[in-house]
Amino acid sequence: MLTEQERHEIDEEVAAVRGHARAAVVEALKVVQRRRGWVSDDDLRDVAACLGMTPAEVDAVATFYNKIFRRRVGRHVLLICDSVSCWIVGYHALLEHLRARWGLELGATTADDRFTLLPVACLGLCEQAPAMLLDGELYGNLTPARLDAILATHE
């Protein structure tokens, strides 16, 4: 069940797209994801109802995007850039460090639900490669030490 607040936010998105309710679908999914971390089947049905769409229609869009999570994720989602610039300057080393020091595997969530690690395409932070997106925040110039410091603040 969506909360009053979520419903309200979705309604606002719908109002903002002036008569094209469907155009609010990505924002509506993000409204849900913002609080719940991911979009469950039940949430998706609720979103569909708000937009006058069928669940299939919403899911057709939701599953296209890679930052709408249709599966449960951990408390923090770490998207590590595996595109060229980062690949060249240290992606592999970071990945290895995440595995060795933090027990993070690509595509997996830690047993304590603390982190989900996913690969992501270029984050547009190439001049600060290697980079990652952690809970929506961009971090560049990563080194193992800097990574440790950042992750430590994410309980």
Binding site: D41, L44, T54, P55, A56, E57, D59, A60, T63, F64, N66
Partner: protein, 881 residues
Amino acid sequence: MPAIIIDGKEYRYEGEGRNLLEVCLSLGFAVPYFCWHPAMHAVGACRQCAVKVFTDETDTRGKIVMSCMTAAADGMRVAIHDPEVADFRARVIEWLMVNHPHDCAVCDEGGECHLQDMTVMTGHVSRRYRFDKRTYRNQELGPFVHHEMNRCIQCYRCVRFYRDYAGGRDLEVFGAHDHVYFGRFADGVLESPFSGNLVEVCPTGVFTDKVFKEQYARKWDLATAPSVCTLCGHGCNILPGARDGTLRRVRNRYHHAVNGYFICDRGRYGFQFVNSEFRVRTPLLRDGGTLRAASADEALARVRTVLAEGTVAGIGSPRASVEANYALRALVGAERFCHGLPEKEFTLLEALVALMRSARTPFPTLPEVERADAVIILGEDLANTAPRLELALRQAARIVPDELEAAALGVLPFDDAALRAATQGGTHPLFLAVTGATSLDAMATARCRAVPDELARLALAVAHRLDPSAPAVTDLGADAAALADRIADALRTAKRPLLICGASAGSPALIAAAGQLLRALDTAGTAPMLRVVAPACDSMGVALLGGISLEEAARADTLIILDSEQLSAAQVAGATHIICLDSLLTEIGERAEVVLPAATFAESGGTLVNSDGLAQRFFQVFVPEGDIRESWRWIAEILGQPWANLDALLAEIAAELPVFAPMREAAPPADYRLDGQKIPRQSPRCSGRTAMTAHVSVHEPVPPDDPDSPLAFSMEGASGQPPAPLVPRFWAPGWNSVQAVNTFQEEVGGPLREGVLCRVIVPAGSAPPAAPVPPAFVPREDALLILPAYHLFGSEPLSLLTPGIAALAPAPYLALHPADAARLGVTVGSMVTVTLGETALTLPVVPREDVPRGAGLLSVGLVETPDALPAWGAVRGGAHA
């Protein structure tokens, strides 16, 4: 005629604004394709249809283009057999095969798979991809369609048909890149009444026929013959396939003007009564209290005795062929022949015929319906009464820019995605004047939901606005008056307005009002098109045949009844002797003195007159086991063989009843020969015929003779393409799938070669019947006006014998407006008793906002209704389910 140069040779081609693929296919070139579909046009996704075009004769390099996304143009130079582009096409197949499971041997589509055909056509033979394939989980999609996603080649046709073309909203494409999935949000029954078309639309074995799967046979092992669906009045052309004495499946048989490429799920799956355990396979005779099997001679002797007793009446059937009805009429005499309908229902049919004859504009074919630019529907819930027409109206409602507009926008007239992007789901005016919610509501410009008399008043009000000499409706409410203004304006300004009216609301007043409206539109100078909806496959046939009413016939001592399943036992309760010509043992049959085993549509041939007044021939598909014969043949036996074969019977009908004279043209006569030979019902590859009878004899049996048609129960015979009405299967060298239909058309998407449109009801501009303005509807305190509500799955009795259809049919109900429910003190799920005449029905209540105040919608077909509806019914509530 423009010309095009293909592989160095010049060809003339037909048609402006067509794409290169259609032109090449129409010229007989084998250009492979997947995502393009002649009814759904091009999107350019699969890249299979690549050809090369050259700018001029000096251009030797050329450019690879997708033929489906390229407009053919006069003087264009094209190469199909250029090595570079031929290689590209083979590589496209290779890519599609990367994840395809190569499970042809166990795949239902094998042997009629477009992907197989295209693979062979492009010459891709050996596998170079050496890595893993991806796999998917399949979904459970309900009783009709089987899902096998691993075979998917992502042509997007399924969603384009289901969602874009048919308006379904529960099948979608999910995911991205090489992980796209076509299915539902979750397992569950596909909601669209056209879901079965996925089986034909899918070019490989992702969506296959689940019913067929239960007793599967390869395509080439099925005996097939051209047939016509008998499950509603529309008369879609079908290709039933039988093997080993059972009917296994029904597929669409392309007919440009009637059903195009698609049929509904009732038509596709509702055939299982043919194989029913309740079939009567030998004559049954009453001995004392029970029916026992008897020989034909014995039964016929008894029939003759019974017919000699007392007054006799013959009860025909709007679900039987013209020939069967006529034969019965010949047996009992015109004045003792009943058309099979209660007086009220027959009056409606007569009114429809009169309405059709009052038209001045030719009746629109299916493509013409699809191009209507303003539509008003009077009283029909089309998805449930004429589903194929509903699908056509979905296309009509959709705005498609005409060629000039498209050109101004830079849109290619065959680019489906661009057309949809340009029009953004915009719709033409579509007005619904109906008794409840319908599937077209979401597309409608405006709708009026009211009891039939009110709908008639609205139609008359519109007519008056278009033609002041038409009677005025003086006491119309403000809302209705405003709606009438809107409708009149939209129809007046339309270029191709279409009026749809039928019998299902049960209202002669509404049909009369439609006549007024049609005439008014004509007076207003709009050349209105008319499409009529009749309830059963031969309603119009019996309407033309005429006869006494069921009420009158039922007073006879002795009744001989065709297809008694359409009657209730109560309707014939007064008769002393009953003879049934039935394919199924019915309640009436159980009381009969003789039951003669009658052939179903699949075991017989004949002619049906559809809603549109078209006479269409259907042919026998297989020879049934037992003593089953065509009804008309049984009658011929009783009469001492007056007709040697169907043609002889047809000749007599034409001579006796000139209205039916054109009917003989519906198909070539039995002595027609193609290249001097009969046309085989079986494919030349038909296997295992000898094996099937090996326990009896190792010699292949002599195929039974077919005196009634130029078709043979054999795989031997002519191999060429027969005239359209005789096409028993769509096959051409290299084209084993249903897509072979391209090679049978005059041009792609057009009529079949040597097709016929044989009209027995024609627009004659005769005066429409007078349409007095009905008084405004006044709800009653003590009763509801009970109106019929139809269900695609449920309101047609024979198709209910298909288990999947029975499973999807709703439970009987009475729907009424919540305010009426409150007034009557009934709530959801509680039971009410509706008293109609003598009969009291107890039904669960469904409160629904869409039901007009003072009315009740009663599901028909699911409960036996004693009276023709609408009728006032006293409603008593209170009981609990």
